[in-house]
Amino acid sequence: MNNVLKAIVAVAASAAVLYGLQRTTPSYGEITSPIAVTGKLGKRIAANAFVIGVVKVHLARTVTTKSVGRTQTFTSSGVWALVEGAAEARSESLSLMSAQWLGRDGVRYALSQRFSTVPGFLPSQRLEPGLPQPVLMAFEIPEDQVSEGTLLIARTAWTPLEEEVRIELTGVGPDDIRPALVLARSEGAVPWTLKSE
């Protein structure tokens, strides 16, 4: 009788342990998720391969781009968020191809590709070590995701264990939404000008 009891207890205990292991195993997505380096708006955040800082977030309902001979106005069913920042590589030339706006409820909004030419567009900038460059990012987000957002910037969106900079966009809220923004090229150190109307 004792032997049978011991056997039952042993089987039940192993089943419980295995069940716990199964429930707490991280999924493949979690194991290969990017390694986060957190920071705040306005601060210079140093990851291993690059340094980036976000200076200002502009919010507007429409964006008008002015390029040679052509003026285009882009509307959206939500709000446009144009993010100005500066980035620099640390030890090797690289490009930051992936930037996402992580909304309050966990939904990710990728970079908008609707503008045909954006001066200083983050994925098309080659960042050199020791040379900080101004970068511009454009997102389309629903109006209720404007506050408590996080910017996720990485070299690529899919490489496992890629370094990702998470910038908490504190102080950005629906009060900052302007009716229109004008984006034009500029010949100075910063290759664009942003004016709100």
Binding site: S91, S93, R126, E128, P129, G130, L131, A189
Partner: protein
């Protein structure tokens, strides 16, 4: 059901001996199976530099290589300094030059700058002939006795010192050229 007999002294000794031998046999099996991959990885990762002083030529990848000029252009508005490196190779054995080529500018802190894809307007105005030279790459039409003239432009900050140009032809690895 008959119970299993208790192990004798000899059986127990053999059991523990086999278990101990596993600790040697298992790593040996792994190494033997992956010997090819290991030696290939070691070959690709070990890099032997061939240092070349200014003005000297060096035989590498079936050609005689020489750095003809390294020009620092004036600083741009953002503090970026364009550097134009011109180098040439007198071909002796064209086969090795058919593989891809990588050119990198390295400073004494170990920072690496990749060359620009196309020469910028500033480089075109300042060094016209260098802007017309091709990038270092695979040369399928290399002929013995011909000289291939190449150029690469880099954008470096003012704080970069001790710059050396590193040229690696994929077929001639693990050796690579370092021009001072």
């Amino acid at each position: 059901m008959t119970a299993a007999a208790a192990p004798t002294g000899g059986e127990r000794r053999r059991y523990w001996f086999s278990l101990a031998a596993l600790a040697i046999v298992l790593p040996a099996a792994i190494v033997v199976n992956s010997w090819d991959s290991l030696s290939e990885w070691r070959r690709l990762n070990s890099r032997t530099p061939l240092t070349v002083e200014r003005g000297a030529t060096q035989r590498y990848a079936g050609a005689q290589w020489q750095l003809t000029s390294l020009t620092r252009l004036p600083e741009g508005p953002t503090g970026a300094i364009p550097i134009v490196a011109e180098f040439e190779a007198v071909v002796d054995d064209p086969d090795l030059l058919k593989s891809p080529c990588a050119v990198v500018l390295v400073d004494d802190r170990g920072r690496r700058w990749q060359p620009a894809f196309l020469p910028s307007r500033v480089v075109r105005q300042a060094r016209r002939e260098a802007a017309d030279k091709p990038r270092c790459g695979a040369f399928p039409n290399a002929e013995k006795g011909k000289t291939i003239m190449m150029a690469a432009t880099f954008t470096v900050p003012g704080s970069a010192t001790g710059l050396t140009l590193s040229v690696t032809v994929a077929g001639a690895r693990p050796e690579y050229l370092v021009f001072r």
